[in-house]
Point group: C2
Chain length 354, copies 2
DNA sequence: CTGAAAGCGCTAACAC
DNA sequence: GTGTTAGCGCTTTCAG
């Protein structure tokens, strides 16, 4: 187990001092001659020297790691988001540590606290949390947070944390308008048990589209699983199935369903089948997210695409700039546009069909 | 931004010395009086003192973080595994840092190197790698590795790294025997482009079952996507679909298909539909893994269950004991038993049916 | 049973 | 443009 080279070894080999090497390492190459730079670089290469992060951290307080809090990576859409975040972080020399919060504020806090103790000063919350209060003291102690997947408002008030998200309202709008354009007039909206901001927004877009088309909204066409149904993110599809089953059991059932997300949509398709009906012949279903699996289902899921890679990229960029203190003060909200992806789960309503 | 309490603050408040506090913190409470212990604990509680990890690491070289390398968390089965590993690690006070390797040895090495530089000395490789050579120098430098999802042998030779896996051979056997018991005699086996150990093992179990039943094996009934088809883990279902399409296009096509994993099985179901056939009426499909999504599909996937939580638990336990140097020398291979889960994607073959 | 003191490897004043 | 040096917070010998 060869002992690793230290900065002093580099200095000796390069025939210079430790601080000069340190200066170079920290981007202050202008303070020394071109030749010195070359000598030091040669020495670093020769010794395969890598700075000791803990030692550096002890001094600077900085760790090249960011935390990523997701409800549950077991949910394919979060898994995909985690993958995208990791790619974006990697490019910037950051490692990602993962935490599944199950949307439990206690877990969120415990995780954040653990990460904070490790010296981590940047975390990404990849879900729209119910509230952010429980992070406030960490923020005051120097933690930077970027929320991924959240509108710019929380409970109607402007939030004071950087955020990146897709335009959820437009997403709900596009999904709904697509059904309207296909000829549907009785369109339902389903979601799971968790009252997230994005859910409200998507529902808002659904209502917008109906209004625009002059279709009266109807509370009977909106269904969500009850809170008692359990944790939404691990079993999102079950939530969708349950909500859709309820919706379809009501009088004057809809001919088309907009689901809060693709997993719910997939569950809704299962519910339609459960009743002996067919998608899209009897009931059309449109999801939101565009997860990979949607293409695999029969029928392939019509959905609204969320630009996952771009979202992740923007999020990590925002966070890493915060960490490098390049941006002080001003809160940034980045909102990306979703796009409709027409596949096979939505078609004209049956009445019009025949 | 209140400055955090240090060990000396605790010592002062407790009316003792820094080293005594440190001794207590490091489990050497026997070196001091009961009273001292109490006083120190009170002080720690009062100040809400938490040791500074970087400082500790600088001295001890230990970081309470383990790395987790998966091919791609975007793959639901890996996502679920990552979730399980994280839960197991959390219990032991360990954080998990995530890396998607895409099964690229270069990426595996780069990741490992990054984590090593951070002081991380334990990593879990949650996939059966092709080879482990590129980890050897890290192991020599003190890295502990546990491979999750790998048999005890690699290319037929006993591997010298701790491993935990399901009994892949039995998994393949159970899936195949199920089809045989249903009356199938022309049974195919499909897998993706990556020649992992687990794939070979599962295929071995498939062959075992055929042999046991006195059914001649037939190379025409085995299909895998070509390497050129691209990365298996992100698009596992596409691989399954492609391999199944090929298999079903051959003369004397099988009446039942065993897929290397559930994603492939789901892809195979899609392939069956592509041809205008029905699962399980025309073709039965059995997967291996038991991912959550399998229950959602129509028909619900018959599969072989892999005890994910137990696997993760065993893996983290092994690793954390290595890290605490509780186990020296002896290599451990833990192999857990899979079980068949009968659902709806496999039934009697059509000939027997009518 | 307790405490003083020497670093772990690095950074950033500050002095030359 | 380059080098000296005082710590960052902790652990751990080693003396008392």
């Amino acid at each position: 187990m060869a002992t690793r080279p230290r900065i002093s070894d580099v200095a000796i080999l390069a025939g210079t001092s430790v601080s000069t090497v340190s200066n170079l390492l920290n981007g202050r190459s202008n303070r020394m001659s071109r030749e010195t730079v070359l000598r030091i670089e040669a020495a670093i290469g020769k010794l395969d020297y890598r700075p000791h992060w803990a030692a550096r951290q002890l001094k600077t307080g900085i760790v090249p790691i960011v935390g990523l809090l997701v409800p549950s990576v077991a949910n394919p859409s979060h898994g995909d988001m985690a993958r995208a975040v990791e790619v974006a972080a990697e490019v910037r020399g950051l490692q990602v540590v993962l935490g599944n919060t199950l949307r439990d504020p206690d877990r969120e806090r415990r995780y954040t606290s653990n990460l904070f103790d490790l010296g981590i000063r940047g975390i990404i919350i990849a879900s729209s949390p119910f509230a952010l209060d429980h992070f406030h003291d960490f923020i005051e102690r120097g933690l930077s947070i970027v929320v991924l997947d959240l509108g710019a408002t929380l409970d109607g008030v402007e939030i004071s944390i950087d955020s990146v998200s897709v335009d959820n309202r437009t997403a709900g709008y596009l999904a709904t308008r697509h059904l309207i354009e296909l000829g549907h007039t009785r369109i339902g909206y389903i979601s799971g048990a968790t009252a997230t901001v994005s859910r409200q927004e998507r529902q808002g877009g659904y209502l917008d589209a109906l209004k625009e088309a002059g279709i009266a909204t109807n509370a009977d066409l909106i269904a969500a699983t009850p809170a008692a149904f359990g944790f939404d993110d691990t079993n999102a599809a079950d939530h969708g199935r349950s909500a859709a089953t309820e919706l379809l059991g009501r009088p004057e059932r809809p001919t088309g369903i907009v689901a809060f997300n693709d997993m719910h949509a997939l569950g809704a398709c299962a519910a339609v089948r459960d009743m002996g009906l067919t998608v899209p012949r009897d009931i059309s279903v449109v999801g939101i997210d565009d997860i990979l699996l949607g293409r695999l289902f029969e029928p392939a899921l019509t959905t609204v695409h969320q630009p996952v890679d771009a979202l992740a990229e923007a999020t990590v960029d925002l966070l890493s700039r915060r960490l490098r203190a390049e941006r002080d003060g001003e809160i940034t909200h980045i909102i990306l546009k979703p796009t409709l992806v027409r596949r096979a789960s939505a078609g004209p309503p049956r009445e019009v069909n025949g």
